[in-house]
C-alpha cells in the first residue's frame, strides 16, 4: 500500500468514508430518531430530546412477549443446531470418501435454499406427519415453537457445521486415539479430549446460532403459528405504521451488540498481547488487572468510554425533564397556527406542484385515492396487501400535525423513565 500514488490513496480514503457511512449511517440515524419526541421516526425536524419512546417500548406487551418467544425459540434452536452441526461436522471427517462430496452438498444446501422455502417445507411436512399419525389439530407437531425451532435449525445447523469443520481441521485425531489407547472409552475420549478442544467453536457456534435465530424472519413467518417472535412482531409493527419505539429497540440492540463486540475484541487483544509477551496461557484467562488492562489495547479504552456514556445516559434519563422544552415548542406551534391560512395556501401550492411532477398515477394502486400529505409526515408506504391499513397510516399522519401533548398517554413526560422501567433495562448494560 505504501507505493500507491497519492491520487489512489486519496480515492481510497474517500471510498472508505463513503462505504462506512453507508454501512453505519442508517444505524446511527435510526438511533438518533429514538430520542426525538416526534411521533414519526425522524431526525429533522427535531422536536424535543426525549426518552418517551423507550417508555412506550417497555410498555408494549406484544414486543415483550415477542422477546420472550424469541428467547425460547433461540434457546432450543441453539441446542439443536449446535448438536446437529457438530454431529454433521464429525460425520464429514470420517464418512466414506466417495460419499463425502454428496453429504457435504446436502448439509450445506439449507444455507442456499431460500428461507421461505424452508419455512414452507417444514410447515407442510409436519402437517403431513400430524395427519398421518392421526393427531389432533393442536398437537405439538402443529405448535409454533416446535415448527419454528425445526425450521430454523435446518439451516442454522449448517452455519454451526461450518464453524466446527474449521475448528476440526486443526484437531489432531491422534489425541483421541491416544486417549483410547490409555484406556478411555469413546465417550470419555470425546468428552475429555475432543470436546474441550472444540469448546471455543461450540461457543461461537452457539452465539452465531442464537443471533441467526433471533433475527430470522423468512422461515419463521411461515411457522410461528400462535407464538410470534420479536422479529415477527417488529415486522407487523413496521408494515402497519411505524413509530420511534422501534428505533428505541434498535438503539438498545445496537448498544448491546457494540458492547459485546468490544468486549470480545478486548479479550482477543489481551490474549494476543499476553501470548506475544510469552505469558503462560493460564494468566490470559485470569482476572482483570487494571494497569495492564489498557496497555496497548485501544479497544479496551473504547469499551470503557462506551460503558461510561451508556451509564451516563441512563442516569441522565432519570431526572431529565423534556416538559419545559415541550412547552416552548408548543408555544411556537401555536404561533405557527396563527399563520395557518398562509401555511394552507403554501400547502395547496405544493400539492399542485407535486401533481404536476408526478403526473397521473400510472400504477393505479389504491394509493392514489388517498390525498398525499405533502411533507413533514409519513406518506402511507403503500401497503399493497391491506388497503385498510392505508387509512390507519393516513390517520397517524393527521395525529402528527397536532401538537404532541394532545396525544393521549404521552402527557406524563416528566417521569418517562420511571424507575420500574429502568429496572427492566438495567440488566442489559
Amino acid at each position: 500500500m505504501k507505493t500507491e500514488s497519492p491520487l489512489i490513496r486519496f480515492g481510497l480514503a474517500i471510498y472508505l468514508v463513503l462505504f462506512f457511512t453507508y454501512l453505519l449511517g442508517p444505524l446511527v440515524l435510526m438511533g438518533i430518531t429514538a430520542f426525538n419526541s416526534a411521533s414519526f421516526p425522524q431526525v429533522t425536524p427535531w422536536e424535543v430530546f426525549s426518552f418517551e419512546w423507550f417508555t412506550t417500548l417497555f410498555n408494549d406487551k406484544r414486543i415483550l412477549s415477542g422477546i420472550g418467544n424469541s428467547l425460547i425459540v433461540g434457546f432450543f434452536t441453539v441446542i439443536l443446531s449446535v448438536a446437529m452441526g457438530l454431529a454433521g461436522a464429525l460425520m464429514l471427517t470420517q464418512i466414506w470418501p466417495k460419499l463425502r462430496a454428496t453429504f457435504y452438498t446436502v448439509i450445506i444446501a439449507p444455507i442456499l435454499i431460500p428461507g421461505v422455502v424452508l419455512g414452507i417445507s417444514t410447515l407442510v411436512f409436519w402437517d403431513r406427519v400430524n395427519i398421518m399419525l392421526g393427531l389432533s389439530d393442536d398437537s405439538f407437531l402443529r405448535n409454533g415453537i416446535f415448527l419454528t425451532v425445526l425450521g430454523q435449525a435446518t439451516f442454522i445447523s449448517s452455519y454451526c457445521m461450518l464453524v466446527f469443520v474449521a475448528r476440526l481441521q486443526r484437531y489432531d485425531l491422534g489425541l483421541t486415539e491416544a486417549a483410547l489407547d490409555l484406556g478411555a472409552t469413546h465417550v470419555q475420549a470425546f468428552r475429555k479430549i475432543q470436546l474441550p478442544f472444540l469448546m471455543p467453536a461450540v461457543g461461537s457456534a452457539a452465539v452465531l446460532a442464537f443471533l441467526a435465530s433471533f433475527e430470522n424472519y423468512n422461515t419463521t413467518t411461515f411457522t410461528f403459528q400462535d407464538y410470534p417472535t420479536l422479529t415477527i412482531e417488529l415486522a407487523q409493527k413496521v408494515r402497519y405504521g411505524i413509530d420511534p419505539s422501534v428505533s428505541a429497540l434498535a438503539f438498545i440492540i445496537v448498544v448491546i451488540t457494540v458492547f459485546f463486540a468490544l468486549l470480545n475484541e478486548v479479550k482477543t487483544r489481551r490474549a494476543q498481547l499476553a501470548i506475544a509477551n510469552g505469558a503462560p496461557v493460564g494468566a490470559v484467562s485470569g482476572s482483570f488487572k487494571m494497569p495492564g488492562f489498557f496497555s496497548g489495547n485501544p479497544a479496551a479504552v473504547v469499551l470503557t468510554l462506551f460503558v461510561a456514556v451508556v451509564v451516563g445516559t441512563i442516569a441522565y434519563s432519570q431526572f431529565y425533564d423534556p416538559e419545559p422544552a415541550k412547552a416552548v415548542l408548543l408555544k411556537e406551534k401555536r404561533a405557527a397556527q396563527q399563520l395557518r391560512i398562509k401555511a394552507l395556501q403554501e400547502r395547496v401550492r405544493l400539492q399542485r406542484l407535486e401533481k404536476k411532477l408526478k403526473g397521473p398515477d400510472i400504477f393505479g394502486s389504491g394509493n392514489s385515492k388517498v390525498p398525499q400529505p405533502p411533507s413533514k409526515s409519513a406518506s402511507p408506504f403503500g401497503n399493497v396487501f391491506a388497503p385498510t391499513n392505508l387509512e390507519k397510516a393516513a390517520g397517524t399522519n393527521k395525529d402528527e400535525k397536532k401538537p404532541a401533548p394532545k396525544k393521549p398517554g404521552t402527557s406524563a413526560f416528566g417521569n418517562v423513565f420511571a424507575p420500574t422501567n429502568l429496572e427492566k433495562a438495567a440488566p442489559k448494560e
Binding site: 471510498y15 462505504f19 462506512f20 454501512l23 453505519l24 442508517p26 444505524l27 440515524l29 435510526m30 431526525v43 446437529m84 457438530l86 454431529a87 460425520m91 457435504y104 448439509i107 450445506i108 444446501a109 444455507i111 442456499l112 435454499i113 431460500p114 421461505v116 422455502v117 424452508l118 414452507i120 417445507s121 410447515l123 407442510v124 409436519w126 435449525a153 435446518t154 469413546h186 433471533f214 433475527e215 430470522n216 423468512n218 413467518t221 417488529l234 415486522a235 413496521v238 408494515r239 411505524i242 428505533s247 434498535a250 440492540i253 445496537v254 451488540t257 463486540a261 475484541e265 411532477l357 400504477f363 394502486s365 394509493n367 411533507s375 413533514k376 406518506s379 408506504f381 403503500g382 396487501f385
Partner: protein, 307 residues
C-alpha cells in the same frame, strides 16, 4: 459399505456412534430431505378443505403450475402475466443487487485482505460485522426512515432547495435496492476477503515491478485468484436477495411485488398451500439451476461455498 460401518463404530464406539448417526440422520432426513419432498408432493395436489384430503378428489395434478404460467381458467391473456412478470423482475432485481454489492465490496475486500492486519484493520472488520448482527427488520426499518418522504435524504435535498417536493424513493424501489444491498454486504465481502487474504503480496509486488498498471494487476492477478471468493459471494447474495421477504415487504414500492411475497400471500392470506408450494418449488428449482450454472461457468466447487 459394510466395512465402512464396522470401521465407523470401531472409531466412535457404540454410544457415540449411534448418537452421531441419530443427530445427522434427523437433520438430513427429517429436516432437509423429507420436508422438501413433502413440499414437492404438495405442489402437485388440489386445493381441498381438510375433510376431503385423502379422499377421491385428492389426486395429483399440474393445476398449480399451470396457474403460474397460464393464470386462472378463462384468462383472456393466455398467460399469467402478472405473476410471471413478478418472477422475472425478482430475478433481474436480485441480479442487479448482486452486481451492485460486488462493485461496492470488491475494493473493501481487497483493501482489508491486503492490509497487514493491526488494530486499525481489526476495528474496521468489527464495524463491518456489527450491522450484520442487527435484526433484518430493523435494518429495513432504518432505510425506511432514511428514504421516507420526510426522511433524511428528502429533508436534506429540500433544505438546500435541490428539490421542491419529496422524491418517492419507495415507489421508485431505490430504498429497496439500497436496503437489499446493505443487508448482504457482509456475505459478499467475507468470501472475497478470505481468498484475497491468502494471495501472496509478492505476486502483486512482482506484477507492479514488471510495470503492470493498477488495472492490469487486478485484471490479471487479483481477480483470477479471487474468483472462488467472488463467485461464492455472488451466489450467496443472489440467492438471499431472490429469497428475501422482509425487505420487499417493508421497503418495496406498492407496484413492485417480490416473488416471495406472492408465496407469502398464497400461504398467509389465500390459505392455498398447494399453490404456494408450487410457487416455492419454482423458486427453489430456479435457485438450484442458477447456483449450479454459476459453479459450472466459474469452475467453482461446492466446497468453496460457505467458507
Amino acid at each position: 459399505m459394510n466395512g465402512f460401518m464396522k470401521e465407523y463404530f470401531r472409531r466412535n464406539g457404540m454410544l457415540l456412534g449411534w448418537t452421531l448417526l441419530f443427530l445427522v440422520g434427523f437433520w438430513v432426513i427429517m429436516l432437509i430431505i423429507l420436508p422438501q419432498i413433502s413440499m414437492l408432493d404438495f405442489s402437485f395436489r388440489n386445493h381441498l378443505p381438510p375433510p376431503e384430503m385423502g379422499g377421491p378428489k385428492d389426486t395429483y395434478t399440474l393445476v398449480n403450475y399451470k396457474f403460474l404460467i397460464f393464470g386462472a381458467q378463462g384468462n383472456e391473456d393466455g398467460y399469467n402475466k402478472v405473476d410471471l412478470l413478478v418472477f422475472l423482475r425478482t430475478l433481474i432485481a436480485a441480479a442487479f443487487v448482486t452486481i451492485l454489492d460486488l462493485l461496492i465490496c470488491y475494493p473493501i475486500a481487497y483493501y482489508l485482505g491486503q492490509s497487514k492486519g493491526g488494530g486499525y484493520i481489526r476495528i474496521l472488520v468489527l464495524l463491518l460485522i456489527i450491522p450484520y448482527w442487527i435484526n433484518e427488520i430493523l435494518r429495513a426499518f432504518a432505510f425506511r426512515i432514511i428514504f421516507g418522504d420526510s426522511g433524511v435524504i428528502n429533508e436534506f435535498l429540500m433544505l438546500f432547495s435541490i428539490i421542491d417536493s419529496p422524491i418517492d424513493f419507495i415507489r421508485a424501489n431505490i430504498a429497496l435496492y439500497a436496503g437489499l444491498s446493505y443487508a448482504y454486504i457482509l456475505l459478499m465481502i467475507f468470501p472475497m476477503y478470505n481468498v484475497i487474504e491468502s494471495l501472496d503480496r509478492n505476486q502483486i509486488e512482482a506484477a507492479r515491478d514488471m510495470g503492470a498498471s493498477w488495472y492490469m494487476i487486478h485484471k490479471r492477478v487479483v481477480i483470477p485468484f479471487a474468483k472462488p471468493g467472488i463467485s461464492s459471494g455472488c451466489t450467496m447474495v443472489f440467492m438471499l436477495s431472490a429469497g428475501a421477504l422482509a425487505a420487499p415487504q417493508i421497503l418495496g414500492g406498492p407496484s413492485s411485488l417480490w416473488f416471495t411475497q406472492l408465496i407469502y400471500q398464497w400461504f398467509n392470506q389465500g390459505g392455498n398451500w398447494p399453490q404456494g408450494s408450487a410457487y416455492a418449488v419454482v423458486l427453489l428449482l430456479t435457485c438450484i439451476v442458477i447456483v449450479l450454472s454459476v459453479m459450472r461457468i466459474f469452475k467453482v466447487n461446492m466446497g468453496d461455498i460457505g467458507k
